[in-house]
Amino acid sequence: MPDGGETVAGRDVVLAVRGLRKRYGSLEVVRGLTFEIARGECFGLLGPNGAGKTTTLRCCLGLIDPDGGDITMVGLPVPDAAREARIRVGVVPQMDNLDPDFTVTENLRIYGGYFGIDRATLDARIPKLLEFAGLAGKADAGIRALSGGMKRRLTLARALINDPELLILDEPTTGLDPQARHLIWDGLRQLLSQGKTILLTTHFMDEAERLATRLAVIDHGTLIASDTPQRLLAAHVEPEVVEVYGDEAKTWADMHGRHIAQRLELAGETAFCYAGDAKPLLNDLAQRAGVRYLHRPANLEDLFIKLTGRELRD
């Protein structure tokens, strides 16, 4: 291995987190979290607001000291050698923190300076990064002139200025419109095909579904489940879902639905019916007047809700 990363079960591990604990006052935000990310993976850390995702990332970067556990990032112990480890890591933060006083190019150049990268290397790298981010025509534009999507893409380009082995993204597409999100996803897929390793937190299940090769669902600071999206779905959720809407949904659910579905959950005026085979449900619903329904395969959102519950997190 060229970079001293450790091998577990024959795989080159880029980030290893073992038994991570972090407490704020009496509240333990992260409670014994363990996961590993192998080179070339896109690992999705999923969890509701307040589950401990951002705290976990800040611990990995060495910005806060954990109360317990071990972290090894790009082969180096964190927090002891966190600063050295960050030389080989790129970060896309949850909230944009581009420098508003600089142009697009200057933002990349100044940020490269924080890594001690020389001017010639930067001048060679920046046009390629702008091309990658779809900002080639905006090289000299001010930050205030950029749309939200452009800013995110520039932040992604900035995170690549040091050609990192590991890219850490904290909710990279929160607040973006669908077009802008797809552009970010395309960019991330491109990076994966180049062999980069990605750690991504999100609460968008479609984002995780499209990008992540492996997922961990965390809640209340502990890992609830971790595997590939397909295996997680197979293990935890019935393959078919029928959503029943409308005023009559609750009555129908109580009188009929509960007897037919393997599992049924009510949320507001929608009944979510889970089954291995949806035919009996559909046959029954076809006879009912005044109920609308949608039949679809189970997805990560169903998994997420099953594992973390339906109650609102603020």
Binding site: L63, I64, R86, P93, L98, F102, G113, Y114
Partner: protein, 264 residues
């Protein structure tokens, strides 16, 4: 003491990594340099002209120098104080809290200690810039034509370190920009009126003069006035020790408070 507290109060970690962060601030300043320098000069220049010529015509010489030179020297020190305080408070707060610039920097291989050191040195650098601008104005008005006056530039840096650090303490505690008003009311205004910017400290009653002796700005002015008149100041070591002590102590407090605020 818990290890977390030990880590919070550990001595400052100094390295040359502060330089790219300091340079970033310089590059932003360069974009707005002319406006910034004019802003630095305009206020003290008005005071100097109005009070120096207006009031000066009544009172003649003060402390062995024309009143306009007397107040001009005071203005140099005052301007270094204001510039550095402003940079340590409003500008640092923008970069830390509003723009989240610091957050971006500490995701790179730069530690918060490096960022703080850069901000501190930058506040002092800006104090030197405004010191230089006002010295140039004074020279244009026909005063301070002596090489010794150039020593006021490093003095401006020292004043900048002192008040930049005070500003950074406020920054570490500030919930918002409004908080900085306290510093103006409780620290800068008394400092301005008691340190001998407008009139000699010796004019005040003994008890008030002894309060003034505890103020860093007074020690800066005691160094600046003789230099402006081509004289070697007395008690050089004492004045410098007081300024350095204030600067270093305040910086350490600012660093610990900022670590507590951001690294948790």
């Amino acid at each position: 003491m818990t290890t977390a507290t030990q880590k919070l109060v550990r001595p400052p970690e100094l390295s040359l990594r502060f330089f790219p962060v300091w340079r970033r601030n310089l590059l932003v300043w360069r974009k707005l340099a002319i406006a910034s320098v004019l802003g630095n000069i305009a206020d003290p220049l008005l005071y100097m002209l109005a009070l120096g010529y207006g009031l000066g015509s009544f009172i003649g010489d003060v402390g062995g120098m024309p009143y306009i030179a007397f107040i001009g020297t005071g203005m140099v020190c005052q301007s270094a104080m204001f510039t550095a305080s402003f940079e340590g408070m409003y500008s640092a707060f923008s970069r830390m809290h509003v723009q989240r610039t610091w957050e971006g920097i500490i995701n790179a291989p730069i530690a918060l200690d490096d960022v703080m050191f850069a901000e501190w040195v930058w506040a002092a650098s800006k104090a030197v810039l405004s010191t230089a601008a006002i010295l140039a104005v004074i020279a244009t008005l026909g005063f301070g034509h002596t090489w010794l006056a150039l020593w006021i530039l490093p003095l401006g840096f020292l004043v900048g370190l002192c008040f930049g650090a005070f500003g950074l303490v406020m920054n570490a505690l500030a919930p918002g920009y409004d908080f900085f008003t306290y510093f103006f009311t409780l620290v800068l205004t008394p400092m301005l009126l008691l340190s001998g910017v407008y009139f000699p400290v010796e004019q005040m009653p003994a008890w008030l003069a002894s309060v003034a002796n505890a103020l860093p700005l007074k020690h800066a002015i005691d160094l600046a006035r003789p230099l402006m008149m081509a004289r070697i100041p007395g008690d050089i070591v004492l004045h410098i020790v007081v300024l350095v002590a204030y600067a270093v102590a305040a910086y350490y407090v600012a660093l610990v408070l900022t670590r507590r605020r951001l690294l948790k």
